[in-house]
């Protein structure tokens, strides 16, 4: 397939691997690089990137999987909404098996009779709303800047077409504030960031300025093996030269200014608010909530949902894993009590969760 196969070329990949080996020797110390996109976590595991890198180049995963960083409270709130009478709850499939703090999940609730439907886009959720005028269709709005403009676009479409039985439970988050939290974390010593590809398609270079300002490398990177290896090599070059900047490996998909139309839509419909991230706690300005003009689409207000009290899942280390201070191997539940058939924490559920990737690839 065009724009995929060429970036899986073994000869180019091998050449880049050799270059990385030379660069690592020149650096002469261990370096830690973090990816903050779940699709990178998955690709790095799936293509075996870790196994072919020199030992001194350590890759760690950050809070890049939207399902994984969704707080226990938000999972419980989703369960509450999905259990309401007359509600058709629509969600991306990743969310279905994520356990709440009380052991429930959308999948279990569905088995008990709740009308919960998996959709691949907001377009499908709105189609369901149009086809079921006597029901209330709630869409679980989850995802980073790549996804939230699609939700903003649908909300505007619903306004234009007078579709009144569609609302969104927005747990959308934005990436730059989370990166700032990671930069401030005294337990983390990251030398460079593999910046997310498709988030950057939307936001462009904006939001990453703190990384080079703090003396760390930042390279926006694509998702095929050649992309990832080239991105890592570009990061190592920044470290060697001591010249830190936001660089773009993924030029075929990312412009410096991003997708301005998508950003305008996002800003028109949503405004920033504090959001709770699993592992990182509450981060100011990292969540997206509806602006007043669009508040009728806010499912929390429409269904008068109370703020729930929740506790952490006992023994689960997803929080530390999402911060990059632990790997799945550090978690006593990993592979034993917690596995893909019986996930205890969200990082084992999502295909791009760190624990799920480690289970399959390491």
């Amino acid at each position: 397939m065009k724009y995929i196969d060429e970036y899986r070329d073994g000869a180019i990949a091998e050449h880049l691997r050799e270059r990385i080996e030379q660069q690592a020797r020149r650096i002469g110390r261990a370096v830690t690089l973090m990816e903050v996109c779940g699709s990178h976590t998955y690709a790095i595991g799936h293509f075996g990137i870790r196994k072919i890198l020199p030992e001194s180049v350590r890759l760690i995963s950050g809070p890049g999987c939207p399902v994984c960083v969704t707080s226990g409270r938000d999972v419980e709130t989703a369960l509450l909404l999905a259990g309401r009478k007359k509600v058709i709850f629509t969600t991306f499939g990743d969310m279905l098996r994520v356990p709440g703090t009380g052991g429930g999940s959308l999948a279990k609730l569905r088995a008990e009779g709740a009308d919960i439907r998996v959709v691949a886009s907001t377009l499908e959720a709105v189609e369901i709303a149009k086809g079921n005028p006597s029901k209330e269709v709630v869409f679980m709005g989850i995802g980073f800047e790549t996804t939230s403009p699609t939700v903003a676009a649908m909300v505007k479409t619903c306004t234009g077409r007078g579709i009144g039985n569609f609302s969104v439970f927005s747990v959308h988050k934005v990436i730059p504030p989370a990166i700032r939290v990671l930069l401030d974390d005294p337990e983390l010593a990251i030398d460079g960031f593999i910046c997310p590809g498709h988030v950057s398609t939307i936001i462009g270079f904006a939001g990453y300025a703190d990384i080079p300002a703090r003396g760390k490398a930042a390279v926006i990177t694509g998702f095929e093996p050649v992309d990832i290896l080239e991105g890592i090599s570009m990061i190592l070059a920044q470290i060697i030269n001591g010249a830190y900047a936001i660089e773009n490996q993924y030029t075929r998909a990312v412009k410096p200014q991003g997708n301005t139309r998508a950003m305008e839509l996002l800003e028109e419909v949503f405004t920033r608010a504090p959001a709770e991230w699993r592992g990182l706690g509450i981060i100011p300005g990292s969540g997206l909530v509806f602006r007043d003009v669009f508040s009728s689409f806010n499912a929390l207000a429409r269904f008068d949902v109370p703020i729930l009290e929740t506790t952490d899942i006992m023994g689960c280390m997803c929080g530390s894993i999402l911060r990059g201070v632990a790997t799945p191997h550090d978690c006593p539940l990993f592979r034993h009590a917690c596995n893909p058939q019986n996930p205890i924490g969200p990082c084992m559920v999502s295909r791009e969760g760190t624990c799920s990737t480690y289970y399959k690839c390491h």
Binding site: A11, I12, S39, F144, H198
Partner: protein
Amino acid sequence: MCIGFPGKIMSIDENNYAVIDIGGTRREVCLDIIDEQVGIGDFVLCHAGFAIHKVDEAEAAEKLALLRELLEA
């Protein structure tokens, strides 16, 4: 979850939806949030039912040529 895949535009309808081809599989995507003019034959990056970016073909070709040159160097 921010998964995106490149597809070729085969047709565009009056509601601003395009049929795209991804290695033989056809899907429908909405063109409402893309910020560039696109037409039949263009490659677009798609995510969750929407085209989000027009693939810069010249840029991609140039970069790939550079990588291949390195191999011969």
